[in-house]
Symmetry: D4
Subunit: 229 residues, 8 copies
């Protein structure tokens, strides 16, 4: 680009645009997750290479299929749009999360969340398509949900499932609005605002479609459990 660079030349040529936070595991207890959507295929390839060199497990989220096809050595889930490469199996941690969704269309975000939980070494139970338009579907699964340590609720449209869930469950409930819907529901703002404004007490909310974030929040919460024996 015709301007000076203070990094050593060879690094500048290669990876001046990358500073992977390799110390995050030590600091926070979980590795950095790579956000793939706005990165170029070239950038992702170099990230994967750096992680492999350091024997670092890596999960790339929101990775478009055409980019995933250019990455080597990992596993791609086209519905969840996650690409994962595990140099070593993650340590199995205590606690179990329920991932509960309102509709079949929410499956990609459920997938992103469940895959991230697995990447973090956490067990998950997924219960899908139990939205409030037919509330008996949810009530018939309530016991299974109550047996988990933390609940993630994934819903688009108006997101009312989160309010009902938080009104029935004493656990931490993490709500993930999705962009499923059209008209005022398009892009997920109706669900987001519905969840933030929930009349149910203590509901915690993530950004729209942020399945990764919900898994990481669950990871932070489950840290409070005594270690598994």
């Amino acid at each position: 680009m015709g301007t000076e660079s203070t990094s050593p030349p060879h690094e500048a040529a290669a990876d001046a645009d990358l500073h992977i936070d390799f110390s995050r595991g030590q600091r926070l207890g979980f590795p950095e997750i790579i956000y793939g959507e706005h990165k170029s295929a070239d950038q992702l390839q170099r990230i994967v290479r750096q992680c492999a060199e350091k024997q670092h497990n890596v999960l790339i989220s929101r990775c478009q299929p055409e980019k995933a096809a250019l990455l080597t050595g990992g596993t791609y889930d086209p519905l969840a749009r996650t690409w994962v490469n595990e140099c070593a199996p993650p340590p199995l941690l205590p606690g179990k999360g329920a991932v509960v969704s309102a509709g079949t269309s929410d499956a990609p975000v459920v997938g992103e969340c469940v895959n991230t939980l697995a990447f973090l070494g956490l067990e998950a139970l997924s219960i899908q398509d139990v939205g409030v338009a037919a509330i008996h579907r949810l009530l018939s699964r309530l016991d299974e949900i109550l047996a988990c340590d933390v609940v993630v609720c994934v819903a688009g449209f108006e997101g009312a499932l989160a309010s009902v869930l938080a009104g029935q469950c004493p656990q931490p409930v993490i709500a993930v609005p999705t962009g499923v819907g059209y008209g005022v529901a398009k892009d997920g703002y109706a669900a987001l605002h519905g969840m933030l404004a929930s009349c149910a007490n203590g509901l915690m909310v993530m950004n729209i479609d942020n399945g990764v974030g919900a898994a990481l929040a669950a990871r932070r919460i489950l840290r409070l459990l005594p270690p598994r024996h």
Copy 2:
């Protein structure tokens, strides 16, 4: 205002700014309701006078207390902000509406709706404070609701009650979002969008805080019932 007026002078001086739709009853089956909020006390006084001269029942909605205090001959409900003057009792019409609210704070809109239903000659059952954060409150009253012909659902915050109701009731369900709440719920947009985006099928929505409109919509719907004997 210093410009010519084509109306007869005396009318111009008096009521050039008013054209009450006295033929609405004949055309639509219900009288015009007067929107009071942005009218001056002087304008409201002249409207009341015109209606009295024509022996017309009148309901003024969103009427501030200081204006209501200047009107003579009717009844003011300070919570619902309605002012009503009935020259003759309204005809008792067939059908019964349930007005169901999510929280105690929704009482003013419930009141506006119930008072308008009464003004239109309709019977109403009001069930308040049964929001989804404690869903047993709603389920225990479901039979009473199912016995009505039309359901009005009044809710602020995220308005999730409407989705649950419409999922359980086969009747026409009219949702009225309210401006109860703060942050993203302030002004009622979270509830409005939640209701419009509802995953429950066939939910119909009114403007924020529009209790009058819900009553009139119920009136239009109940017209389909065979007449009362």
Copy 3:
């Protein structure tokens, strides 16, 4: 996805992401409509298969042509984007709906509404392209509209047709804003807000482009009519 599932393994593999509400007919009097836009072709295929196995009629809305091409046994309307499979003809119900649109461009939403009414067993009269910029077009058809039991008004741009219709018709009027237009009308918010804010009394509003919802709302309303002989 590498995490435990509590559903029986074979179901989990197949349809863990689906819970079709087969009891909706019993509860509400009409079947669940499938929202197709955000579902994968694989998900839709499995839904169609489940419905066929249970001899359930099914309508998929907002179904993109490339997905419809992968479904077998039903009928696709490319303008309305509805895919319908009827194992048995729907029962013919009492009442008749008028579907009135402002412009030729609103035809897809008109089509979705009319097709859903037919799927529900309801008769419909469609009157298109009678927007208020040339109000004689509407007035010349008013008698036909007044002969129907319920009116659905479909309009984009500013949606003014709904106000005029509700001012002339005593029936229940259901307004469906459409995303037809550009600039401030793009995405349908100008029409949506215009309909919600209508000066005409008792107008009920659906989400943008929600032709399915309007048909279901009409279905709920027409339930009040005495049964057809």
Copy 4:
């Protein structure tokens, strides 16, 4: 304020914050109108004094009553919130404007527009409360409107009157949305967007509540008429 000023000291002390555009009449054919809402009483007093010294007619718009009470020599219209001082009568110009409003509550904006037209030397016919919820009110006055040279349409709520008017009238039609209404109509955006998105051709739109601007736009348009004899 403790910093240097390059204006002559006495002017700085007095009127450094004012540069009235006294040459606007020569340039554009009409004087500057003073926007009062965000000016202090002290600023308005100095503006009035400057105009008086130059024998300049002055109209202050959106002037709060408590400020108007501190101004001397002019006339205040509390409904329209205009304060006018005319050193000489305005020249009587050719052309006539119709100011048509949807509801009684729009009277303040009608007043601002009519008063400004008078200040500019233009004749106006005002027809109020003829909104589309009862369209016969408008149609019965259509001949009077068609006899004018330019039409100003003032409406709140959904503003549908503008579309109907522009569909019936061949003249220039200037739409002024007002902040009359509540919920989605609050602050005037529903009417503004409805008017901008109008399906009626060639409708021109002003800012919300901008009665002054509509009058000035009419003034620009009527300049095309041959001069009055």
Copy 5:
């Protein structure tokens, strides 16, 4: 669509979704313009056929190239996206409009406006790329603009050109915001709001990218001129 239709069968099959307003010329003095963007190619073809049968001139706006390619007999301007078929030359009307734009990128909207003016029989002078970032470009063309009867200002980004023009020109000034720009300027709201909020008096505003509307507004205004000899 499986439901009854009250139109005569053959018409229903053909054109039940069309009601071209052929009487608009008589009522308003100019023909209906066809909005093409959301119409199907089939609908546009039938509209063109109807107009040809009645010897009606027709202009289709916002017509995508792939649809234009399916229309026969007219002229397509790919930059302006207008398709025009003139059975007879339009009558040459009095008056002249200036179409002034801020940037080269605004050319499509300028083209739509200029083409519509020509279709209406009006003469136009177009002056492009004279935005306020280099104000001498505008000032050097001011005399030409002042010689016109009406001014259309087309601008994207912040749209400041409209304020400067309206401050210098006594004529009617019609502002057309465009969607040229990115970030906060994307979709044209920055320009729209800037023009509506303009400190310059009497500026009239059209919807974003509405070059057709500006031409029709100019047509309404120029009607005030005495007829050409």
Copy 6:
């Protein structure tokens, strides 16, 4: 209100608008918190009376001073706007929360959160005015924060403190945006969106100014700790 009521008459007269969720403690482990802002003084008084009769502790949030003055028997914190009446001291629960704020102006929301934590029987450490404009203030207190089990971050303006905190702390971090600020920060949307969009992983977000909700979320999370001995 002139309509039938199905509740027993005396209850209808008294408390038909109230259904306090007295079983919430059993179901969720914490009592219902009363939202005071949109309730009338009469409604709050009746709620307080019901709770006293059942020996229920009660906290009213967003309680305006003029209403608090009408309540008897409890303690009002005018900065936090909480009114608390404790019939018995809350059980002292395990775990400790840090409440960290960006600025002095956030004190009311900090107060609401800290008071609610105390009401729930939880210990809290509050660290205020350590926003990122002077990051050493935060870093010097980091050890104290790291010693807590859960972190609540309260911030207005752009809310950047939450991202920095979540990047440094492995615990669950709950972000509460506040309405502190002006311009784009007014009403708290800049902070809300900043927190939802945070680049820091697993940050959980509450509604604007929702100090109560953050405390309840902390309560849900701390439930995972083994009980205190």
Copy 7:
């Protein structure tokens, strides 16, 4: 508030909610400015006391008159809403700023900016009410502006002055939108977006009404000048 505090008791009682950044001068070259709007009078009094004890100059912005009346020892400017106490005169720094405003109504923000520049030891020239509706007012003062080192442009409504200024001046230009205006200009978003979207190159923008920020930005810029002798 009934919870433990880790600060020493006496400090907690007094000033636990304050951490004034006394090292900002050393770090950035200018002192912290106190934002007064959302602080209580008690908080401001304690801040003033702390500054006095440390002989620190202090400026409180957006300080309401009723709070200013409770502060002792400084000077209050009621138009600009600034309260200043200077223990020692600020050092006179090199460079000069021009503060140029569009209208008389912008005076409060001009005042805030000019007072802050003085507090920082900078010379300022203020030129007010030279908006683009009458562009000769600006052009006649252009030489004075060109003689300054940095330009601050303060404007409400559409904010077009900033584009014209930045097109004529080679200096750094800092734009401050104000909340002056109504309708779409209310709250300052029209001006903010107009300035951000400006077609003029390199215009830098502050938050709405942020006169303090513009002065601090000017202070940062003028740091590049060689020191005054």
Copy 8:
């Protein structure tokens, strides 16, 4: 387009839609930058030809690859989307800018800014991927940043890096929000509002993704430095 043109015919045919501001260099000290996104390939080709004829260096920003492929003689950077043709090397100017970004995904905007700085003859140091989720990355590079004369901060998501940088650096800091992110961060508004609302003093903000503008702002600022020897 069938209407008269007052430009000389040959120019009208060729370049009536272009008025490149060739005097900008003389007036402001830097050339006009061409905004490419909404210009047609034909328009860009004619602009490049005009510049070449006048021996003018030219930079086209936001130039799509398919258009760049049609331009001859210059250099295209596909990541930054800039196309540059330099007839002569730019003069090397005094001062140095730091361009600091939060994430790898911000590279296109960093590239646009750095390329523009080089085009203007300015030296730049780019430091990428040092966002606040791992703040040690930034702190370890702080000395390099402090050695520059002006700082440009490029960040998407919540944009918190800008607040931290401005809190640590005394130089002018120019913030550029980017559209990197999803949900509430999509399109860059979360970062834009976060930067405008920053608690850090004197932060200046550009439009979303406006790397060109930041470079030009830096150019204006560095003009204050004494000339290079």
